[in-house]
């Protein structure tokens, strides 16, 4: 149902007690800078912007390799919340190698399985924002592919 790497992450989180879940999320959040574009990397699409529903600028960079598999990079402004940072790392790692269509078709119910009921809050809804942005860039990519075909 989910791309294998994401499935592994979901299963890991589901085994964790609450304290360790929080620690793991913080660790993922702190590794978010590793998801930034590297020097000389080239992308098929880049989408960096500041939307009203997120606290700071978020950039999404999509590269699709010769086998049609997506590789994502992201940049986050300093005001972006910890949980959103964590979700950025999780999604960049978990969706690496999935196709843009698989990403677009991904149901969002896994977010609560990772974050846990305790941390799901009204104002944590921006956690879903990262997924929305990733899906957005995949949709643009697919639309352009179809238009060019």
């Amino acid at each position: 149902m989910y791309p294998p790497k994401l499935q592994n992450i979901i299963e890991l989180f589901e085994t964790l007690p609450e304290v360790e879940r929080r620690e793991t999320l913080v660790n993922y959040a702190e590794s978010a800078p590793k998801q930034e574009p590297r020097p000389n990397e080239k992308f098929d699409l880049e989408d960096e912007r500041k939307d009203e529903e997120c606290a700071d600028k978020v950039g999404v960079y999509l590269q699709v390799d010769g086998e049609g598999r997506a590789h994502l990079r992201m940049t986050l402004g300093p005001e972006v919340q910890t949980l959103t940072r964590a979700m950025t790392s999780i999604l960049c790692k978990g969706l690496d190698g999935a196709t843009p269509q698989e990403i677009l078709d991904l149901p969002s119910d896994f977010v609560t399985r990772i974050v846990g009921a305790e941390l799901v809050r009204v104002r944590s809804q921006t956690t879903y924002y990262v997924l929305t942005r990733i899906k957005g860039i995949c949709k643009v990519y697919l639309d352009r592919q179809r238009a060019a075909a």
Binding site: E30, Q81, L83, A86, V122
Partner: protein
């Protein structure tokens, strides 16, 4: 206890970052972090600080209301807070949730409460010590408060309506766009389920941020007096009600009016716009 050269009505309600760094190990103090970013405490906090979560710790988990006095006593006991402990609150977002937690502690009559002026951002910007070590304090005995002081410092929707009808001071601390009804959520925030935009009739718009400087510390008492007394018609002789969307930004203004300007009759309408903007029949004004 404060070191700020101000003429606030209750300067003892503020501590600055220098002072706190020198008193981290004081036995009669408990530093309390309260944030909007629910994992921020886990990423590092002031040494010795405990974490009190506005929703999981202070609110009832079923009814939209606060915990009862028994649960408050238990919360204090497990955080090593006794009835005489001085609690110093700080947090992100210019101390919104710190002020909210302080206000909630006052709901239960906890006397010794203070705010770290400038909050978490100022502490961090000054490269002061942070740790990930979660402290553990011996459990205290906290007598169950006899009651909650809702009547004194909290307003409900019918009281906000009465305030509006009586044309008494009613301060809307949200952004101008929310006040005017142009948007139904804060910029940069997700929609929190409000059906109507605008403000309570007669409310004056004084965004919470008007009370702070760029480093998130509070403006001086004369500046605050000008903003609220001259600019918004607040009068120490008349009771005032403040509100925002869910009561946290208005807790910030409640703190300013109560502790920095010394008003004794300010109530926080914590139901705020998420109640009023959905309430059947509630009168609304739009525009400025």
């Amino acid at each position: 206890m404060h070191t700020n050269p101000t003429d606030y009505a209750h300067p003892e309600a503020l501590v600055d970052t220098d002072w706190l760094e020198q008193h981290l190990n004081d036995k009669d103090l408990r530093i309390v972090e309260s944030n909007e970013d629910i994992l921020l405490y886990d990423t590092g906090h002031i040494p010795g600080a405990v974490h009190i979560d506005w929703r999981a710790d202070l609110q009832d988990q079923v009814v939209r209301d606060y915990i009862d006095p028994k649960k408050f006593a238990e919360l204090c006991e497990r955080n090593g807070i006794g009835p005489e402990t001085t609690c110093i609150f700080y947090g992100d977002k210019a101390n919104w949730w710190a002020c909210y937690a302080l206000w909630a502690f006052r709901l239960f009559g906890h006397k010794n409460v203070k705010i770290l002026n400038g909050g978490r951002d100022k502490w961090k910007a000054e490269n002061r010590p942070m740790t990930r070590e979660v402290p553990s304090y011996p459990s205290t005995e906290y007598p169950v408060p006899a009651r909650r002081f809702d009547q004194e410092i909290r307003a409900f929707a019918d009281e906000a309506l009465a305030q509006s009808k009586a044309k008494k001071p009613l301060i809307d601390v949200r952004s101008p766009g929310e006040y005017k009804g142009e948007i139904t959520h804060m910029a940069e925030y997700p929609q929190e389920g409000v059906l109507r935009g605008g403000h309570i009739p007669g409310a004056k718009s004084v965004p919470w941020k008007t009370a702070t400087k760029d480093d998130n510390t509070f403006k001086s008492a004369p500046e605050l007096a000008k903003i609220y007394f001259e600019g918004a018609g607040v009068n120490p002789e008349v009771d005032t009600v403040v509100y925002c969307r869910i009561g946290e930004r208005s807790s910030h203004t409640w703190f300013v009016l109560t502790y920095l300007l010394g008003l004794e009759n300010v109530r926080n309408y914590d139901g705020s716009w998420t109640e009023w903007g959905n309430k059947v029949g509630a009168p609304i004004e739009k525009g400025s």
